[in-house]
Symmetry: D2
Subunit: 401 residues, 4 copies
């Protein structure tokens, strides 16, 4: 039995879970296997090498955890920090807020820097705090690369610059859940110590794999970190890595083969082409929003996100109603406004394995829903704006034939 | 290895093969089975009952032939006619032309009635011929319900009316390849003797099953028809139907389960709702074409097809280039112009398991391609026209939740 | 809804349709595509080259027809012969009988050579007929390489030798349905003019593709052959081959990709290794039958089939009951005895993508069923005999890891 | 690319991950969906009700955690206990040992009761400890229902009896990873406070879902338990249960639909029939082991496991070599001996969606491998013993046809 509504395809435009490429679905359409046979370690070995490329790291150590993004967060924190450690963390939307909540519940001393939702992390405050912290009581700076709730991308290069400026030894922990494989991310160049993502985001897999990558400094920190952890403990993984069997407990065979297929697709397209495609679709979306006469929740261009756009609706409209009708009438899945922006924004996710016409179908759907809820949109206006941009900016991807 | 181009989904808008619903893909994702076990006959029995509903017949006998539409044509002709038999047949486009070609090659005496491509079958000529044929030398009238090459739908009720008017006993043979399950089709009410379709059309299955339905009169005719046939011979099927084992030779297990899933989806939506959905999407497409300032190849509204629209391009544009660029740039599959209309029209197939936003994505893609080949289309115009219609005409389909 | 009985896997041991490898199921798990895009012709071109290898031909022309084995038969006959042509054909079991029935119904003058079921084709009679036919009235010799109903393999090299001995120009038409890709078959070396198989046999695909390969002599014959044919006409294929679009009508996209995957598997294993594997499993099966104290329907070792074994049951047992109970009690699909040997034999198909333990599970199941129907089998005896052989004859297949 | 060796199916007989039914594979062959749409909560609601049945509880609260068995352990412990809490725990094999290791690392005061590997938990010692603990310092009794490393099933009813006898309020925490859905398990009747399993065991799903069920007493305990937890915290789930959205973070859409299909299969067969089938296959396996002249690692019949059999090999054989050759030569996956029994035992997993002939194929394979490594097994002996039992004990499962 299925619960999806009505004929034709579901148009999935939440910012995760995202559309799975057919090639990945095919690769995952398989029986279980013994993960202690020679096959799975051989596959895992390849994956651990390949997955480093999406982090742009050569020195990092990746972990493919059978968990979600929330578990990946916990893994990043508990392996590198000890209870009571002071950390600087930013709240700029619902997901950074949830991470801070986790940080507090895990017993860290969280020095929270809040911004208005729709703005990026306040890095000036970070600079002041680091400047003041000559005693190096700050053990880590935790930041979300892309806040999925508001469509805000933080500038990680600047964070590194500030850390360097004050020669501060704090660990640099990054939630790359809605960025890695979609936005420009450079673990080694930016000196990120732990970066993480979830399989159901730009990797375009089902949910179930939290991918965490640790710098040598983070690995070193994990040897003395006192936070309690067992399931998420890197130590067990590292022990099995050394033995060449790789898995302290059972992985999902299907997700491993799926990850192989997903990475193959990304590398075939070219990681930089993948990132450029996200810029292209993100730009087209923003042009459509502008054409509709609506505001982007993100207040400045420097923070614009190429993976998700949060669209502000006029006060007389409940954005949840837009999401509800999109699903009910057009088999369109849009993202709700969350917490502080509930009812005020709806979100268009434009990340993962996606192309122009899929996005344009979504934009046309949004126009009809907007009209339907009483917003005086000019039908076709957003699509036209997006088309004009897209049609003039055809990427040069080498065809297979 | 795959040969598809670029990231994201392929947008399949040829008038067949069409998009397969996920539910059908799932149902077909299975190993072979022994077709002589009790399971397959039980499944077949259900299918033979269910499939009659899509023909709107209670008295017909269906055959699920492991073949294509071309094979289904041959089955219809060779089982009911004898070499040299005089038949009236219409050429109004490439597919009716191919059927006539087959009729000639099979040795029938074909009385061809041609129309300009873009017009329907000339039923006045049919009336004259039947009126003149008091000796009843005409053994069959063969007509394509929907000409896929030009997007022309013939009026079958009128054909029946003419046959009745002259009390002519000719068999009434209908190619319903791009109509059945999408357009209003009434086998019993219209006294159709043989109707046929292919699995890859509105049934939204893979290619490989020709579905032929024969009236009692056609079954009777098959007992004396002298055309040579073995593979396509209904007699072998009827023998196995009687034995309850159903298959004179091996069927595709996967297509049988797929057909079950496809029919379940159609009956859940409601056959009349399915037909209304095609009218809705066909109308939206035509409104877009009009907004683009382009002509429908179909010359009169009475012949407009709700499953395929052939769009006439200005003389300075080669329509094949539109199809080529659609595929190359936007992963969009449109139909080529064929034979007499090659280079002059491109076709948008809007049949099968499809919804509003899929079509709108296609229309947006066509707009970009049109612009790209130098046609001065106003971007967004067609989408706007389609949206305006669709948004005001939401169907009332009962949701599952 | 499924109709399969009980938990666990179905054990499919009919001699077709056979088990589909997971890799092939995965390759076929896909949406339709436009077969007029550049992708499908590119794929087809590769397939037409690759498929020649399984016939061991370089000069042959293959046709991938959307039909079954019965249709492939019809294609072979109608493209090379004219009504009334005299052909020599052999009946040695149900499938050769059905082919002869088709030959007669298609209007050929069939000179039938019958053998007792369980014996091979009587090639001495063939020799006499060819010797006597100095006027070359015999236009074709039609023979089944492997009779699926009795498990009898005919010696095709001898047929060629006889034809050569009398310098007889008759066409040499071979049904390789249950042989090609499993038994040693050499189209060019043996001067076979048309060879054919079905996708659901040793190729281990779903039903739906009849694969026919024609020698240059057969292609030449097709230019003057007068048998009526349209759907099965090679001429249309050859026309589209020349244009590089390959398909006169719609192919099954899924079967094309499936065929690619199936051929890739065969070539990776090595065609000769595949054939050796069939010899190995066929031998093991025969040793089990011997250990059970039962007779092989095939009367002489020279005719033993490595793809199917027909086992003769004692007169007090109805072999259909064995098949029925196998399915009902053990989810085991065995082949029925057909026609003259109905009730007297049951068949174990051991062709396609299959390995030792699958076969041994089947043999164990047969033992339990035999006991269940009152035959005094020593449980484990057949399995032991098969194991002893298999364990001492491990093939040297290069592992991937 | 695949890494599996050689043609034919892999024979998966490790005690998890186990074979996935085709129906479940089909149900999981699907794109992602928005888990905040109305569909997924509706599905989840059904699942939470249905899943209670496999625990035989009406009062329990289930959690479907995106994790493995190891994570499910951690969830059970951290939600009900506080650091320093005294717990009684048993080591009888590798998995109970790993759980104790986790308990210690999570900061509990673990009172370990060890048994020789191959014996069940020493419940007499439990009785003494409880008797002595009049102060109720013991907060929980933790026990593995079925030790997967040795094939030992503990008697949970007796544990409950002892707890009741001393009216001890300790929580009763059960690892049912290789028991639930395969062995008789009665959460309510036995007063189990937390029971847990993993999706890849008897539920026959891919790895990735830890299913934990908590009694009202456990839920109450969770309100005061002081162990740090965030990802595994039931509180977040309970909050979302109340809101009717169910998920504090993203679940695997595919596993949810897979679980529905898996439960549907179990309920169609009947949970008690499923359990009886495991008894039947377990018995057959043990009879084979006996026939081979080998010893079961489990020392007493009362502890025999119906989901996994650990077979002791003679001292001159390295059991790892058996596993290695089984995989390499016969595409057979057996379980290794772990830790104390490494090299000494190999394991046959016989749990999940499995039937007679699958098991018999495995047993035949084991015989060939045993012979191959120099053990003087009589080929066919184990298969014969298993067949004799199975053939005389056909279960009465109602067929669908």
């Amino acid at each position: 039995m299925d619960y999806t509504y009505a004929p034709g395809r579901n148009h999935l435009f939440v910012p995760g879970p995202v559309n799975i490429p057919d090639q990945v679905l095919r690769a995952m359409n398989r029986n279980n296997e013994d993960y202690r046979s020679p096959a799975i370690p051989a596959l895992t070995k390849t994956l651990l090498e390949d997955v480093k490329k999406i982090f742009k790291t050569t020195s990092g150590t990746p972990f493919l955890l059978p968990t979600t993004g929330t578990g990946a967060w916990e893994s990043a924190l508990t392996n590198t920090l000890s209870p009571g450690d002071r950390i600087v963390s930013f709240i700029i939307g619902q997901f950074s807020l949830l991470w801070v909540d986790q940080q507090k519940r895990l017993g860290f001393n969280v020095d929270v820097v809040e911004s208005e939702w729709g703005r990026g992390a306040d890095l000036d405050v970070l600079a002041s705090k680091l400047a003041a912290d000559t005693a190096h009581t700050i053990k880590a700076v935790c930041i979300v690369h892309n806040e999925t709730a508001t469509g805000v991308t933080n500038n990680l290069a600047t964070v590194r610059k500030i850390l360097d400026e004050y020669q501060h030894p704090a660990l640099f922990l990054v939630d790359g859940v809605s960025s890695i494989c979609a936005l420009d991310f450079r673990m080694d160049e930016w000196g990120v110590d732990v970066a993480l993502t979830g399989s159901q985001k730009a990797l375009s897999l089902p949910t179930g794999m939290g991918i965490v990558c640790a710098s040598p400094k983070a690995i070193e920190a994990s040897q003395s970190a006192k936070s309690l952890r067992v399931f998420f403990d890197w130590k067990d993984y590292l022990k099995f890595y050394k033995m060449g069997t790789y898995w302290p407990y059972t992985p999902s065979i299907q997700l491993l083969y799926g990850l192989k297929a997903a990475l193959d697709l990304i590398f075939e397209e070219g990681l930089d082409n993948v990132i450029a495609r996200h810029t292209r679709l993100g730009t087209a979306t923003r042009l459509a929003v502008e054409a509709w006469g609506l505001k982007n929740c993100t207040q400045k261009e420097e923070w614009f996100s190429d993976t998700v756009t949060a669209v502000v609706v006029p006060p007389y409209i409940d954005s949840s109603e837009i999401v509800r009708r999109g699903w009910k009438r057009y088999n369109l899945s849009l993202g709700l406004g969350l917490n502080k922006v509930a009812g005020k924004v709806f979100r268009i996710g434009h990340l993962g394995h996606l192309n122009d016409l899929q996005l344009l179908g979504c934009l046309a759907g949004v126009e009809m829903v907007l009209k339907d809820v009483g917003y005086p949109v000019k039908l076709g206006s957003g699509v036209a704006a997006a088309c004009a941009y897209l049609q003039n900016n055809i990427p040069m991807i080498p065809s297979r034939i």
